[in-house]
């Protein structure tokens, strides 16, 4: 019998390694397409560097020196038998991955100062829990860089400004940070709920495949409009000019209070690192975003 805690830990170490070194296929495809399509010579140099960098990183080198703060999205089946072991296994995996890959120690105490040195500490790794039907466990490693996080915002709008006001908030934000969040970016937008709910929904949108569209046509239309508006700015890769400023805009919503129109805007750099695996109750592992290559 395999040790369940060890299986969860080993799986998570591989997720963190793959996330840091190999972009999900949809993100790489979108960046390569942007490179092929680009007409601006400066932008072409930037996208060429990104494509080359992706190739080098694949050998096992973190693609960006900012290997992010450690965030996981975890979906636990209500009948998954090892629920109590998950937090400890994820934390141990972070410590192990930090030393072995290596990852940059990015966990700093905001009160007394000091870097923990191993990417763990109070509330970090941060785990977003969701209980779902079934008996398996899905883990997504989502290490998030600081540069793009610094321009993520929550706006508490007056309901009277309507959806136009929502779109304007997202576009104005993009105009204010220009390329500083390492464009081309992916933007997640969460509308409604409350301040915390809006930004939580926004960040979850960054997990969606780049080529999908929201199932509700009204929401898909908002995604399309914001996407086209931001790409019309000409900000371009790294803010140095060009055709591609965003690779995708993803929107979702929750019901809102009559008096509130909260909008969360989560910004992701081009190094959109995420890696997902499913562990069954029998402890067999299936890697979703980064499949194990057949020998």
């Amino acid at each position: 019998m395999k040790d369940p805690a060890q299986v969860i830990q080993d799986t998570t170490v591989r997720l963190l390694r793959k996330a840091a070194t190999v972009l999900p296929a949809d993100v790489e495809k979108a960046l390569r397409a942007a490179y092929e399509r680009e007409t601006n010579a400066t932008a072409k140099t930037q996208l060429e560097a990104i494509v080359k960098n992706i190739g080098i990183a694949r050998e096992g080198i973190p693609m960006c020196q900012d290997t992010g703060i450690m965030i996981f999205y975890v979906k636990v089946g209500e009948k998954f038998p090892f629920m109590g072991m998950i937090r400890d296994a994820l934390t141990k995996a972070v410590v192990q991955a930090t030393a072995e890959i290596p990852l940059r120690p990015n966990a700093v105490n905001p009160i007394v100062g000091g870097n923990s040195g191993d990417n763990t500490g109070k509330k970090i790794p941060w785990i977003n829990w969701e209980i779902v039907p079934g008996d398996s466990l899905e883990i997504t490693a989502f290490p998030k860089g600081g540069g793009s996080e610094n321009v993520s915002i929550v706006g508490m709008l007056k309901p009277g400004v309507g959806l136009t006001g929502v779109k304007k908030l997202v576009v104005d934000n993009a105009l204010s940070y220009m390329g500083k969040a390492c464009a081309p970016n992916i933007i997640g937008v969460g509308i409604g709920g409350g301040a915390d709910i809006a930004i939580k929904i926004a960040k979850q949108q960054l997990l969606r495949p780049l080529d999908d569209h929201h199932p509700e046509p009204e929401v898909a239309e908002i995604e399309k409009e914001i996407f086209e508006a931001i790409n019309a700015t000409g900000i371009g890769p790294m803010g140095l000019g060009g055709d591609t400023t965003v690779l995708a805009v993803k929107v979702d919503y929750a019901m809102r209070h009559p008096a509130s129109l909260p909008v969360g805007v989560a910004v992701q750099c081009w190094a959109a690192r995420r890696s997902t695996a499913i562990i069954t109750k029998d402890l067999s592992v299936q890697y979703v975003t980064h499949p194990v290559e057949e020998k």
Partner: protein
């Protein structure tokens, strides 16, 4: 868009040849990392009449907090993409005047104080593509020293031998040009067109 392959130390004359839009690849032994705290320390030492452990004149100063590790007793840069340069706007003009570095590398560009100092001293600011840590590490061949270790791995002064480190895009030159300022103007000019796409009237 001319491509240059420069070897350190870089002369004022060579630095003044570079113009916004040019591509540069750097080789040589005078490549140093410096973020907020290293800039601050270098300036403090100058005030006290003391010398830093390296000679910055003619050098390349890279805004980066690298991931590095020790293999067989030797430090190696693993991944080293640029950090946001505007934080160093507080120090860079004085640093350039006092130490005469010729190429500053980072991301996102810098402000008017730095632009004026680049003109006065004869130096340029180059952008290296943000997030391209693995590509950068290929060009940062050898760590010769790891100074000011008390500042911690990202803030320390790493002394590096570079080999064809690039592509570096000149985005601020010694002639008063800044691609970053130019972009601000270009994007502002498009604002009405952008707003029209989301139904906002200016």
């Amino acid at each position: 868009m001319t491509e240059y392959h420069l070897t350190t130390p870089i002369s004022e004359e060579d630095a003044r040849k570079l113009k916004v839009g040019d591509i540069v690849y750097v080789s040589g032994e005078h490549v140093y990392t410096a973020r907020d705290e290293a800039h601050q320390r270098a300036l403090e030492l100058f005030e006290k009449g003391e010398r830093p452990p390296v000679d910055f004149e003619g050098s390349v100063v890279y805004h980066v907090g690298p991931v590095a590790w020790q293999k067989n007793g030797k430090w190696q840069i693993v991944s080293a993409g640029p950090t946001t340069s505007i934080r160093m706007e507080l120090f860079e003009d004085e640093f350039l005047r006092k130490y005469k570095a010729r190429i500053i590398i980072g991301k996102g560009g810098m402000g008017s104080k730095t632009l004026a100092a680049l003109k006065e001293v004869g130096a340029v600011y180059c952008s290296f593509t943000g997030g391209c840590g693995a590509l950068a590490a290929k060009g940062l061949k050898e760590v010769r020293a790891y100074e000011w270790q008390d500042l911690g791995m990202p803030e320390a002064l790493w002394v590096i031998t570079a080999e064809n480190f690039g592509p570096l895009l000149v985005t601020m030159d010694s002639h008063g040009n800044s691609l970053h300022d130019e972009m601000d103007k270009k994007v502002a000019a498009r604002k009405a067109e952008v707003y029209a796409k989301i139904g906002v009237q200016v």
